[in-house]
């Protein structure tokens, strides 16, 4: 976060940029309160810190924008520990836009993503892991992701990482004792513990793999509805969204480009795409639409391939979820089917989508991680352990180097592993010294 600054006045919308009852805009930095005062009718300077002041907010020309409540934070009190305020306004998009413009007009710039958290961190309000978790909470878009972020604060990943660290420390200490005491004192040969190292590698990779599913919960899964033209994709799309946002028509090729909507399926936030029907065509606009569909399918977390009633399954659908439409006309078959007219089978389709999105997702006893950084250090540790295995014939000093590298990769999760940790383990496990 090198380009972030501290103390410079910044603002950010703390609630989603969407119509809602109330929106919160907060600002932080040296002098933000006096910068706000020409825009606000309330008596901010007389208010005590952490208290709310009611008033009207206006633009620089004095035109009223909204009736709001402002909470005042003096230096050392708010989230960032800087001088700060929070404006609670009505959650209409024009109001939010106008207030933002007004703040910019008095010299408060829009914050970079995560800059508030960065400032809180820089002013000692939280440590790095906490800062990351807070960022995740802010970004998370469903209850599930929120609870993941909270459990990280309480340290479920830390417990797991500590257990792995402890196993690795035991292994390293049993090797180090041989390297630090001569063969006359410790005559036994050291044997590489292949089984245990394999077990640890598997565990590391399992935890690392939870990042992908965690990401679905935090940033949403891309689900693409695909199929031949007129197969019933848009009907399914609408049925899922329960609103008529896609054009539905029985003329082939109506949906030439894709449209997108956000919804929640089985607790997973989903970006749902309705796409151009797949067929051979010479029409250039439609061709472009089909190309885009193919690209979207490649990038999707899940492709739902909609088959037109009794249509035969095409060859190239890959691992797409197959669903049959028009169940009210063709009747029930062995396959997953639904009717957008009667609503029959829709629940089963939704369940199948949710199941496919979360399959492979680790079961309850594997703590999930939710940052790229954590995933990287787990994968680095696993790879260092594989290097250790591969270097057995090169010498025990090299094996020790890779075991140490694995431990130091984990340190991003567990805190630093120092030479003293290794020696402590060594002295407590072995009777040493002539």
């Amino acid at each position: 976060m090198p380009h972030y600054s501290v103390d410079e006045p910044v603002y950010a919308l703390a609630t989603p940029f969407a119509p809602s009852a109330i929106a919160v805009i907060r600002a932080s930095g040296d002098g933000v309160l006096s910068l706000l005062s020409p825009l606000f009718s309330g008596r901010l300077e007389k208010a005590r810190t952490n208290t709310a002041v009611h008033g009207f907010i206006s633009d620089r020309t004095g035109r009223r924008i909204d009736e709001v409540v402002v909470i005042k934070y003096e230096k050392g009190h708010g989230y960032t520990s800087e001088e700060a305020f929070e404006i609670m306004c009505h959650g209409s998009l024009p109001v939010i836009r106008s207030i933002s413009l007004a703040l910019e007009s008095v010299g408060i710039r829009e914050a970079e993503k995560g800059e508030f958290t960065y400032r809180a961190f820089m002013h000692g309000r939280m440590d790095l892991t906490e800062a990351e978790a807070v960022e995740e909470i802010v970004r998370s878009r469903s209850g599930q992701a929120s609870s993941d972020a909270l459990s990280r604060l309480t340290g479920s990943i830390r417990n797991e990482a500590d257990a792995i660290r402890s196993s690795l420390l035991d292994i390293l200490a049993s090797l180090e004792v041989q390297l630090d005491y001569g063969e006359d004192e410790i005559p036994e040969e050291w044997v590489f513990p292949h089984e245990e190292i394999e077990r640890i590698i598997t565990r590391l990779e399992l935890i690392a793999s939870t990042y992908a599913s965690s990401r679905l919960y935090s940033s949403g899964a891309a689900v693409v509805l695909a199929g031949r033209t007129n197969a019933g994709k848009s009907s399914l799309y609408n049925a899922i969204l329960k609103e008529n946002r896609a054009i539905v028509s029985d003329i082939e090729g109506t949906t030439r480009d894709y449209i997108e909507a956000e919804c929640v399926i089985g607790g997973v936030p989903v970006r749902l795409f309705d796409t151009a029907g797949l067929r051979d065509t010479d029409e250039s606009v439609e061709k472009e639409g089909i190309n885009r569909t193919r690209k979207l399918m490649d990038e999707a977390d899940l492709v739902v391939y909609v088959l037109d009633g009794a249509e035969a399954v095409p060859d190239n659908v890959g691992d797409a979820l197959l669903v049959r439409s028009k169940r009210d006309i063709t009747g029930e078959s062995g396959d997953l089917s639904f009717s957008s007219v009667t609503g029959e089978g829709l629940g089963a389709v939704l369940e199948a989508i949710a199941a496919r999105l979360t399959e492979g997702r680790a079961s309850g006893d594997v703590p999930r991680i939710d940052s790229e950084r954590q995933r990287n250090c787990l994968m680095e540790a696993a790879s260092a352990l594989r290097d250790a295995e591969a270097s057995v014939s090169s010498g025990e000093d090299v094996v020790a180097m890779y075991l140490q590298a694995a431990l130091s990769s984990l340190s991003a999760l567990t805190g630093e592993v120092t030479a003293d940790d290794v020696l402590d383990r060594l002295f407590s496990s072995f009777c040493l010294g002539k």
């Binding site: 520990s81 961190f121 000692g124 790095l128 180097m401 009777c431």
Partner: protein
């Protein structure tokens, strides 16, 4: 009474004091070595050996810097082994048994032969400052001697007290009086002192032992040298002997454990976990059926044998009983009893990485006084203290070896950054990059520095140059020859191939030592590059200097706990700050931002 001013005063003639005083005097500074007894210069208080894992590397590093320890052991060894031959070259090291009487005599003669080095017998009772800087010493017999810099190396003598069961007496070694008064003076001047404990086993008469009941352990033939200046070692090679304790030994110890001053609470100082007394081993590892004992000669002509593994502070009657329970020692005649010694050490956190005191500039402190144990650890600090005292006298920047450059760098950085709660011993696992710190490469790592500061003579400089050239030649020969479808250089990278197995005639003119160094460089090239990348990553932090007047209180993002530690230790760089235990990563992030923004003004 007062003496004319010296450039430097070195207090103590042990392994640290020898290296410090030689470094200073060899750079031309008039140096006074004050010792309680000139007869005990270079005495080996405990085990009759030099080197060992990590410690052997230290000796070769001291030698590469122009120090004396390597030469002294080369001329006094009575057995030599390279340890860990089959466990990887980075963790191999030389160890030699010494004739401790020859070692000490040679050390004394070496010190006496330096024209600028003056030995004086007295006990120092105070070090006094002038204008805040160390200015001289006061002695027991009333001398006041001034100097521009002082190096303190008191070992176990500062308020030393020895314990043998119920008996205790002020002493630094058995039979040698403690240095009384200096500890109190330094405490009064604000120095932080603590107590540490160490111990040594009994010495027994050789002709009273039954070697038939022991395993014989011989040294390597030929004997390799420690010093890069020694070509061949021609010394006698004597065997050591191995025997074991048994249930009876352990029973005797358990039944008398209450008479140990350690368990009875008389000794408060912390002893080393890696070198426990026999009673410690029996108590802490009750399941062990036996413990190994090495019976080692103290010298070539002497009858005294050292019972390595049986250090103890139990009463003498108990000692005799458990010694006599060991096979081969049934009739052992005890010449000197085992004893524990407790002494004052000075908190090394009060030192800069130059070994200069933060409390009294101009005073350097080295050796066991700083909470270490071992002749090699002491000598390593001694030479650095001497070098930096000389740098100070010359007005040149101090020498600080990095952790990736030398075990000496690891040793001193650990001491001054983390402090120590028990006598600190060097282990290879303390070094993050031990593959880079092989003993055979110490000269390549450190001699260029010795040349620069003036501690390496022409001969040493030429030897290094020759070695570097030969390594290049060997590498060129390997690249020009083929074996098994690839050139020999590539072939040598395969784990099972050795430079000997290639059978190249052109290489026969090179010494085994230089061939081995060239071979290891090639075999480990990939790993060495990996280590180098690692070091490169941390270089930014190591190079980011923290000004000594930096105001930690002015940075509000640093936790108060970390702030206290940073203020006490005053790290010289962000890299050093990161290694202070208990300082949080987030505090370091904030600190580096604050330091950087101060730099920018």
């Amino acid at each position: 009474m007062s003496m004319s001013e010296y450039d430097a005063i070195v207090i103590g003639g042990g392994h640290a004091g020898i290296e410090a005083s030689l470094a200073l005097s060899r750079e031309g500074f008039e140096t006074l070595l004050v010792t309680q007894s000139p007869d005990t210069i270079g005495r080996m208080s405990c085990n009759p050996s030099i080197g060992g894992l990590a410690k052997g590397n230290l000796v070769r590093e001291i030698d590469a810097l122009g120090g004396e320890m390597g030469k002294l052991i080369d001329a006094s060894m009575i057995q030599m082994r390279i340890l860990n031959r089959r466990r990887g070259p980075a963790v191999q090291a030389p160890r030699a048994q010494a004739d401790k009487f020859s070692y000490s005599r040679l050390a004394k003669e070496t010190v006496e032969s330096e024209p600028h080095l003056h030995v004086f017998m007295d006990t120092v009772t105070d070090i006094f400052p002038e204008n805040g800087r160390a200015a001289g010493i006061v002695t027991e017999r009333g001398w006041k001697i001034t100097a521009r810099t002082v190096v303190l190396t008191t070992g176990t003598f500062m308020d030393g007290r020895i314990f043998i069961g119920e008996y205790d007496a002020p002493a630094g070694r058995l039979g040698e009086g403690a240095a009384i008064g200096l500890g109190d003076s330094l405490r009064a001047r604000g120095f932080h002192t603590g107590r540490m404990k160490t111990g040594t086993p009994a010495r027994v008469r050789k002709s009273s032992l039954d070697f038939e009941k022991m395993e014989r352990q011989d040294g390597d033939d030929p004997m390799e040298s420690f010093s890069f200046m020694t070509d061949t070692v021609s010394r006698p090679s004597l065997p050591c002997w191995i025997t074991y304790t048994n249930e009876e030994t352990h029973r005797i110890i358990r039944e008398n454990i209450g008479r140990s001053p350690l368990y009875g609470g008389k000794i408060v100082g912390k002893g080393p976990r890696y070198c426990p007394s026999i009673e410690d081993k029996v108590v802490r590892f009750p399941d062990r059926e036996r413990h190994q004992i090495f019976v080692e000669p103290e010298g070539e002509g002497t009858e005294e044998m050292y019972l390595n593994g049986l250090s103890s502070s139990l009463p003498e009657d108990v000692q005799r009983a458990f010694i006599h329970s060991v096979p081969g020692l049934e009739h052992a005649e005890v010449i000197r009893p085992a004893y524990a010694v407790e002494y004052d050490y000075l908190d090394p956190l009060d030192l800069f990485p130059t070994l200069e005191s933060k409390l009294m500039p101009g005073l350097f402190i080295a050796g066991q006084t700083n909470g270490t144990s071992g002749y090699e650890e002491a000598a390593a600090q001694g030479i650095i203290a001497g070098i930096n005292a000389a740098q100070l006298l010359k007005g040149e920047p101090p020498v600080i070896l990095s952790r990736s450059e030398a075990y000496i760098g690891v040793l001193i950085d650990d001491l001054v950054t983390k402090g120590t709660k028990e006598p600190y011993r060097m282990f290879t696992s303390r070094a993050e990059h031990r593959l880079l710190l092989r003993h055979d490469s110490a000269d390549r790592r450190l001699t260029p520095l010795a040349i620069q500061i003036g501690l390496a003579g022409k001969d040493r400089e030429e030897r290094l140059q020759r070695k570097e050239n030969e390594i290049k030649e060997i590498s060129a020969i390997l690249k020009s020859r083929r074996s098994g479808g690839k050139n020999c250089y590539e072939k040598l990278r395969e784990p099972e191939v050795s430079i000997d197995s290639l059978g190249l005639e052109e290489l026969s003119s090179y010494s085994p030592a230089v061939l081995s160094t060239a071979e290891l460089d090639i075999k480990y090239a990939g790993y060495l590059e990996r280590e180098a990348r690692d070091i490169e990553r941390s270089r930014k932090n190591e190079n980011m200097a923290i000004p000594q007047d930096f105001d930690y209180d002015g940075v509000d993002g640093i936790s108060s706990e970390s702030k206290e530690k940073l203020k006490a230790i005053r790290p010289l760089s962000i890299g050093q700050a990161m290694r202070i235990s208990g300082v949080r990563v987030s505090d370091i992030a904030v600190l580096s931002v604050a330091v950087r923004s101060r730099e920018r003004g």
